[in-house]
């Protein structure tokens, strides 16, 4: 039998009167209050941008936290230099997928240079668990999860059912840096965020 000896801290008489300890706690939070208050004013009212920000908040829809290059998000399909999808419809990813949420209909290529191409390539993101097994299984490096699409949210379920055209949309973006600021016209500079994680918009 394992006994856990609980060490009870005996409070001194001074601590048991509450007031000094409460005052100490209040002093800590109040000093944060006043320091942050002063910092906000210096940064946003007196425009002294070198002052440490008064908050560590990242104001999400406008600013995004930088993600690691290995971060797994919404899938994308890659293209060959000639513009055709790299995918050869080998079904490896569909077989590997533990959630069975990839639906591929292969078709024969007209020129016969490669045997098949995906006529239909759908992913149901609502079933996907973002495990990344499809990416690992792919022999052609045709499917990746580095779209850096953070805000997967919608009012309709059908918006999470991604078809081939949608998955091919960000195919040309190959690096983190190239991707920067180009997501659907949204002016987000992730490079900037990587340098300074503190919010820069003037708001109290």
């Amino acid at each position: 039998m394992i006994d856990k000896k609980v060490v009870r801290v005996r409070l001194s008489w001074w601590q048991k009167t509450y007031y000094p300890e409460v005052a100490r706690g209040l002093w800590i939070t109040a000093s944060h209050f006043f320091v942050n208050f002063a910092r906000h004013w210096m940064r946003h009212v007196f425009r002294m941008k070198s002052v440490t920000p008064g908050a560590v908040t990242i104001q999400y829809p406008e600013e995004k936290r930088p993600v690691s290059p290995r971060w797994r998000g919404r899938h994308r399909l890659m293209l060959r230099p000639d513009g055709s999808p790299r995918c050869v419809a080998c079904m490896m990813c569909e077989s590997a997928c533990p959630d069975e949420c990839i639906y591929i209909t292969p078709a024969e290529t007209p020129d016969g240079r490669v045997e098949k191409y995906p006529a239909v390539f759908d992913i149901d993101l609502l079933r996907c668990c973002f495990c990344g097994l499809c990416v690992e299984a792919c022999p052609e490096d045709a499917i990746r999860m580095d779209s850096f699409d953070l805000d997967l949210a919608s009012y309709a379920r059908k918006d999470f059912y991604l078809d081939r055209e949608f998955l091919l949309r960000n195919s040309e973006l190959t690096t983190h840096a190239q991707y920067d600021g180009e997501l659907e016209g949204r002016p987000v500079s992730r490079l900037n965020l990587l340098k300074d994680t503190h919010p820069t918009t003037p708001s109290g």
Partner: protein
């Protein structure tokens, strides 16, 4: 004619006090999020722009009011229909009444008519305040019981037990100031606090009754049922009396709580921090001559009575704002008491200390 004028003056004072209390209460809904944000290195509510003007999110109070009013007002079918609707009213209105006895100025002479800057000048002022302040808990236990939910009922019961315990403490602590000032009327009490001790120290309650202040502050916070003592509500896990409430009915409980904060701040200021007084500032009634600053080292700055009143209302508002800030600071710093701790502190520590304070005050008063 006289009656009409009197009524108009009374209505004007009531409107002023209500506007005063409500603007503090509504600003509190915003400060309640913004201040903890600053304390915790966050930004807090900063949206809800009006024409692109964000003003540190101050319009969140308006947005929130609209949200509460338009939210679905759900009444559980098994709840007691009348009591469920009635409870928020009981929780809110007695609290609104309490501010009536708190003076926000001495008096003002307009056209030969002396206007007392206090809605209700009754000689049992502080008893009135305590009586109506404690009526609020009926609304809470009624709401908890009417919801037909055992957790609500338990929350209501906790509220009653806690409020009754700490009412005893409050009742006993205010006896100290009452003994010193020799009156139950808050206006007279405030007037007494402008006297000087040793020729330079304003005779504020906190100077003459420090122990009473140290007991009154936590007991008052316990009466407002906020965080170190928020067992009746316990929104973070144990849930309480307002569990079944939604929309503006819930909002009324909440508004009542915020108004309680303002009233507590007003009471603290009135009893212990010189009420509306600015140190060394007197009006013409007190000096029986020209009012103004009379400093202990002999310098004087004469001021018209209107300016004295304006200065005093500003000082009253500033003091209240400080105590609201302090209450929010406490609320966002300290964790909740356990129920047995709450009862032990109330009955075994604070009540004996309050009795001791009465004895000490009596001895000192006799010796002087």
């Amino acid at each position: 004619m006289l009656l009409i004028v009197e009524t108009l003056i009374a209505l004007g004072k009531i409107a002023f006090v209500l506007a005063f209390v409500f603007s503090f209460a509504i600003l509190l809904t915003w400060a309640e999020r913004k201040q903890p944000a600053l304390m915790q290195d966050r930004l807090g509510a900063n949206r809800a722009p009006i024409f692109g003007l964000r003003l540190w999110g101050i319009f969140h109070s308006i947005a929130e009011t609209f949200k509460l009013v338009f939210k679905e007002d759900f009444i559980p079918p098994a709840a007691s229909q009348f009591a469920f609707r009635f409870a928020p009213v009981v929780a809110l209105f007695p609290v609104l009444l309490t501010f009536a006895v708190i003076p926000f100025g001495n008096q003002l002479e307009i056209g030969g008519r002396v206007i007392l800057l206090q809605v209700l000048n009754i000689n049992v002022g502080i008893l009135f305040l305590l009586a109506f302040g404690s009526l609020g808990v009926y609304g809470i236990v009624l709401g908890g019981w009417a919801s037909n939910n055992k957790y609500s009922l338990l929350g209501g019961m906790r509220a009653v037990a806690q409020t009754i315990s700490y009412e005893v403490v409050i009742g006993l602590t205010i006896i100290g100031p009452v003994m010193v000032y020799g009156t139950l009327e808050l206006g007279d009490m405030v007037l007494m606090q402008n006297k000087l001790l040793f020729g330079w120290l304003p005779m504020w309650g906190v100077v003459v009754q420090p122990l009473a202040f140290l007991l009154f502050l936590p007991a008052g916070i316990a009466e407002t049922k906020r965080t170190p003592f928020d067992l009746p509500e316990g929104e973070s896990e144990i849930i309480g009396f307002n569990l079944e409430y939604s929309g503006m009915r819930w909002g009324m409980f909440f508004l009542g709580e915020f108004i309680e904060l303002v009233v507590l701040a007003g009471l603290l200021v009135t009893l212990f921090f010189g009420g509306y007084h600015v140190p060394y500032l007197y009006d013409s009634f007190e000096l029986s001559g020209v009012g103004g600053f009379v400093f202990p080292w002999g310098a004087t700055i004469p001021l018209a009575d209107v300016w004295v009143v304006v200065l005093r209302i500003c000082s009253f508002a500033a003091k209240i704002a400080f105590f609201l800030w302090l209450q929010l600071l406490v609320r966002w710093t300290l964790p909740r008491f356990r129920y047995d701790q709450l009862m032990r502190v109330g009955w075994k520590i604070m009540i004996p200390l309050a009795l001791l304070n009465i004895a000490l005050t009596g001895i000192v008063l006799l010796a002087l």
